[in-house]
């Protein structure tokens, strides 16, 4: 018994630094959600003698007229991002797989994957410039076709769709490569057999490729469900401005503004807590479903 413990001890020691880190930087902040139930005064400290107010902060938020709007924006933007973010990469992976030329295939992959690596600060800067109604190259291009100027980032009708389109633009390369990797894993014998049986391109795509990667499709769809309340803080923060708060304000940017800019710490934490609880439920169920339907296990 003791010998076994001695053999195990180094393993526990190895875990120690990591554990200390997550306790200090993940678990202590989790305990900090109690701010949601307090009238928090920062000067008194996180574990100081704060005034407890029960659910007042939550009530206050629910009664804010902007809250319903923010919740709606979050769901609208993120669900469209999720759906398009699943379908578009799938289509591209199938199209890419059909390419006969390896040179073109590789070049296309390289190009579509690039925006994924750039930060939203960099991409935000690029988008602000090219989408600008005064001299932006996109509007100029549209002008050639007689389209009048569109203020993509300053117009409430356009802003959410600009967010969705630019998010798909940044991320579809990543999804495409995941699907493509899965397609590569399909047994080429199946395609050959189908060709001999007289199957054409569509038959093969429909009856071999898609069923062949069904598991990956299920997995990615299920796992992305957990992200339903994450409409993309980095992106929105770098692209929005007061005139599009109405259509573009999401839970995370809302928390940032009421919390840090208006110093309503309790209220902001209440919103964050609400979001975390729903996200936790969504993510846990999505992992459960992923295990159930795709035999996916984390560790």
């Amino acid at each position: 018994m003791r010998a076994k413990l001695r053999k195990e001890l180094p393993l526990h020691l190895m875990l120690l630094p990591g554990l200390v880190m997550i306790i200090l930087f993940s678990y202590v902040p989790m305990a900090g959600v109690m701010i949601a139930f307090q009238k928090f005064i920062p000067a008194k400290g996180l574990f100081g003698d704060q005034k407890w107010v029960g659910l007042d902060n939550f009530e206050y938020v629910m009664n804010l007229p902007s809250f319903t709007q923010v919740l709606w924006n979050t769901l609208f933007i993120s669900s469209l991002k999720l759906i398009l973010g699943l379908i578009i990469p799938l289509v591209f992976a199938i199209l890419l797989n059909e390419l006969a030329s390896n040179v073109i295939k590789r070049s296309v992959q390289t190009a579509i994957y690039l925006p994924y690596f750039l930060s939203w600060v960099v991409l935000g800067g690029i988008l602000i410039d090219i989408l600008s109604p005064s001299g932006g190259i996109v509007n100029e291009f549209l002008g050639w076709f007689g389209v009048s100027k569109i203020f993509f980032l300053g117009d409430n009708d356009w802003f959410p769709f600009t967010l969705i389109a630019s998010d798909v633009w940044k991320n579809f390369g990543y999804g495409t490569i995941v699907y493509l990797a899965a397609i590569t894993g399909i047994d080429p014998g199946l395609y050959e057999a189908a060709t001999i049986d007289g199957a054409n391109r569509w038959h093969k795509t429909w009856h071999i490729t898609i069923p062949g990667i069904r598991m990956v499709i299920v997995l990615l769809s299920v796992l992305s469900l957990g992200q339903l309340l994450n409409a993309g803080f980095d992106q929105v923060f770098n692209l929005y401005s007061p005139q599009v708060y109405e259509s573009g304000d999401i839970l995370d940017t809302f928390v940032y503004r009421i919390g840090l800019l208006d110093a309503q710490y309790g209220v902001a934490t209440a919103v964050g807590f609400f979001k975390s609880i729903i996200s936790l439920t969504l993510i846990s169920s999505s992992y459960f479903l992923a295990y159930r339907f795709a035999k996916y296990r984390i560790f």
Binding site: L11, M14, L24, P29, L99, I104, S119, V122, Y265, S276
Partner: protein
């Protein structure tokens, strides 16, 4: 395998479409680069498309003459210099024990869940900020590297990679009298080099691209990492802490070329490292997403 006996219209259409989409992904970047190297007059008048007009380094000279730029670059490099090795070290130290079977490590599943939960739930922005403030980390480089010191996603990848390593290797090492620390260092780490290289790249890109924590946790703009600095200049247009001389200099360069040059400089390391990044990240994705 593919007999090319006749002209295949659909294939040509497909290739054309895919090439057009690829252009859509890189042309915006090329346009910004072209603007950044153009004269301010040409840029403001909107003459620049995909090639610089009246080629000039003026906006780069201006950006590079700013001490803030170099300061923030230094912060970013320090962040990568401390953050990446720390991430890797902790990933290895956590992944190795967790890759053991439950009977070889007591409380294995408790540990695993303790790490995993941090991916599922967090206290939110305000508690996070308050905690770091109480630790006295604001305005210090440690605020940028310590909170993310254990990248749990990387731990999961490496843990699964470690499990693929044949048990016999480890047993042989143990028989030869090597302890766990020695086994990790002399056997697991060398074998896992490709996986570790992938994780190192993940970590470097993450550190380079992070901007919000810098913006939030660094009260003094002198401590901003490069992306946070670019965020304030390009997105927020915060020119308030600029001297009069700097303003006069700025009048000679257009706002547009200046911002473009900063956008380009902010993405330059990624673009230069891109061939490596792509190769390794594809492996990393395959390693992480398609298993099982």
């Amino acid at each position: 395998m593919r007999p090319k006996k006749r002209f295949d219209g659909i294939a040509v259409l497909n290739a054309t479409f895919l090439i057009l989409v690829s252009l859509l992904c890189i042309l915006p970047l090329i346009h910004i680069i072209a603007v950044s190297f153009s004269s301010s007059a040409a840029a403001s008048a909107g003459y620049v498309r995909l090639w610089p007009v009246d080629f000039t380094f003026a906006s780069y000279m201006y950006t590079m003459s700013r001490t803030e730029f170099w300061q923030s670059m230094l912060v970013s490099l320090t962040r990568i210099g401390i953050g990446t090795p720390l991430n890797l070290l902790l990933t290895i130290l956590v992944a190795y024990p967790l890759s053991k079977e439950s009977h070889a490590l007591r409380f294995r599943s408790v540990y695993a869940w303790a790490f995993f939960v941090t991916m599922l739930f967090n206290g939110g922005l305000i508690p996070w900020y308050t905690t770091l403030k109480e630790y006295g980390l604001l305005d210090s480089i440690w605020a940028l590297v310590l909170p993310g010191a254990v990248p749990v996603f990387s731990v999961v990848l490496l843990l699964n990679f470690f499990r693929e390593i044949p048990k016999e290797l480890e047993e042989a090492a143990l028989i030869d009298g090597a302890g766990h620390f020695r086994t990790v260092w002399s056997i697991f780490v060398p074998i896992s080099k490709p996986a570790l290289a992938t994780l190192a790249l993940f970590s470097m890109v993450e550190h380079w691209n992070s901007w919000f924590d810098g913006l939030l946790l660094m009260g003094n703009p002198a401590n901003y990492p490069l992306q946070s600095y670019i965020q304030t200049i390009v997105i927020q247009q915060n020119l308030s802490n600029m001297s009069r001389d700097a303003m006069l200099d700025l009048a000679l360069i257009s706002d547009r070329t200046l911002k473009s040059s900063q956008i380009f400089l902010g993405s330059l390391p990624i673009i230069l490292a891109y061939p490596f990044l792509q190769k390794y990240f594809v492996k990393g994705i395959v390693l992480g997403s398609v298993k099982g």
